[in-house]
């Protein structure tokens, strides 16, 4: 479970946010983003020493000033559901086809040695990184500059 997934799941729930400066904010999470910037509604702000209080209808808090957030326990059940769901959604892992780069290149401008290599690569799905680099480098040594991409 990712911290930000939990936070995202906590949208609509009440929570406590403590800032690095010690102030705390209690409110309902409206929205959050990948920087942990958050938007709270019906907020009660408590000073660091805990003896002054303010209520504000809403507030925006910059993520990098947050020390921690306290979220309701029930949120964890929901985030669990969501992660399993997204796992099953993410079914097709290896279906992507290669990069398509080698073939293009070979057919166009590398008649002698490029073609053979390129087609080969397109066929073998498993080893993405290795083949690209090897082929390109070798080509590059010959033909100067072309192989790098």
């Amino acid at each position: 479970m990712l911290p930000l997934s939990l936070l995202k799941t906590a949208q609509g729930h009440p929570m406590l946010v403590e800032l690095k400066n010690g102030e705390t904010y209690n409110g309902h999470l409206v929205n959050c983003d990948t920087w942990m910037n958050i938007h709270l509604r019906e907020v009660i702000c408590t000073s660091k020493d805990g003896d002054r209080f303010w209520r504000m209808p809403e507030c925006y808090i910059r993520g990098n000033t947050i020390k921690y957030l306290k979220v309701p326990d029930e949120v964890i059940d929901k985030v669990q559901e969501e992660t399993t769901k997204s796992r099953s959604d993410r079914k097709p892992p290896g279906v992507g086809r290669g990069r398509g780069r080698g073939r293009d290149d070979g057919a166009g401008g590398r008649p002698s040695k490029g073609t053979g290599r390129g087609l080969d690569d397109g066929g073998s799905k498993g080893m993405g990184g290795g083949r690209g680099r090897g082929g390109a480098n070798r080509g590059g040594n010959r033909s100067g500059g072309r192989g790098r991409g």
Binding site: N31, P57, E58, Y60, I61
Partner: protein
């Protein structure tokens, strides 16, 4: 993320309204929001800074100083809230069990 950067809070609804801004380092400013950008740089008109107790920089005092028209740098903005409806209140966390 969806298209724009700071979509968490749409500052458009605060334009020409009073906002309270807390800055890193502890300064606290209110003013009328005249403009903003996606980095959270803010333009505040008629800005007033709440001065702090020199002995205890955590506490804002009733003393203020007028800043006029200012640009708040986004990276220094910690918190933005509307001044409308923001009030100091008594302890709302009643502790019946003496917590």
């Amino acid at each position: 993320m969806s298209g724009r950067k700071e979509t968490v809070l749409d500052l458009a609804k605060f334009v020409d309204k009073g906002v309270q801004v807390k800055l890193t380092g502890g300064r606290q400013v209110t003013g009328t929001l005249k403009g903003y950008d996606q980095l959270l740089n803010l333009v505040l008109d008629g800005a007033i800074e709440f001065l702090r107790d020199p002995d205890d920089p955590l506490k804002t005092t009733d003393q203020t100083r007028s800043l006029g028209l200012i640009i708040c740098r986004g990276t220094a903005v910690m918190l933005v809230s509307p001044t409308d409806g923001t009030d100091e209140i008594a302890n709302p966390f009643n502790q019946p069990d003496g917590a």
